[in-house]
Subunit: 144 residues, 2 copies
Amino acid sequence: MTIAEANEFRALCDRAGIAVTHQRQVIYQVLSGMHGHPSPEEVYGRVKVRIPAISLATVYKNIHVFIESGIFCTVSLHHGSLRVETNHSPHHHLVCTGCRSITDIAAGDLGLPVKAHKLRGGFLAQRYAVDVLGLCPECQKSVS
Amino acid sequence: MTIAEANEFRALCDRAGIAVTHQRQVIYQVLSGMHGHPSPEEVYGRVKVRIPAISLATVYKNIHVFIESGIFCTVSLHHGSLRVETNHSPHHHLVCTGCRSITDIAAGDLGLPVKAHKLRGGFLAQRYAVDVLGLCPECQKSVS
DNA sequence: TTGACAAACGATAATAATTATCGTTTACTA
DNA sequence: TAGTAAACGATAATTATTATCGTTTGTCAA
Ligand SMILES: [Mn+2]
Ligand SMILES: [Mn+2]
Ligand SMILES: [Zn+2]
Ligand SMILES: [Zn+2]
């Protein structure tokens, strides 16, 4: 890694209020160089090439640190367990990143198609699932 | 349950090509009577009141059967494990319900706000995460 | 009705993902 | 450079989910 890259990472950690460690930097670089939507295991696999002694737990911990710091984000919120939708009317979700609550909002508001149709590229869109990520009124109080 | 309800459920199972069992019907009724986005454990808790001997595995199996049959659906696709987003430009996802593949699509196409703003109701929207659920070109071939 | 057969069930073992614990090492700050 | 908190590695524990398997039940044709 270049001096510039190292300084950039140092600044990044400074802003996030976290320490600059070798493991953290390698995980960051590996993630930055990956495409798509890797799982923690995949990240671990790549990091291990550079730091054979690294622990899987360290990879998990740092991924969470990056996500909490807004340096990376996740693909569609992970609710820990499967959740069944009991509301059969077309709607979407307000997902609070503070308390993890999920609230329904009517679909009409977002003006997305309801009928199945084909997108350019050939993908057959059957349903739109929109998560509006943010903070509920309660959690806005706690952060301010 | 009324005769009408029982017949309705029988017809539902007929269409889905699955057997009408007592457990299945109770799970269906409990789910239909629940609000929000219950986890399998929560469903299990309620079903056990009516069928104390039921197995958690049966609840899981039937939830999956209902989802495969389109009788219920899930809240935001569950990818089995945490996934890190490596694409930092604003975009959304085409999620294939056939092969579970996740493909990026540019955000511009959907015309959703990019800046944080407050919705009526007080929720502070910071980011929109749109999953377009459907079938990729490959999987469309397999089903047809 | 009834019997054969497949589907579904319950119990529980197994697996996969994630988190917690804890003793050791390392980075940050004065 | 020393003190302290943060981070690390190893690994145990937890949680969610799935697989296995022997038993029971629903379906359907006779
Ligand atoms: Mn909902
Ligand atoms: Mn993406
Ligand atoms: Zn909240
Ligand atoms: Zn597909």
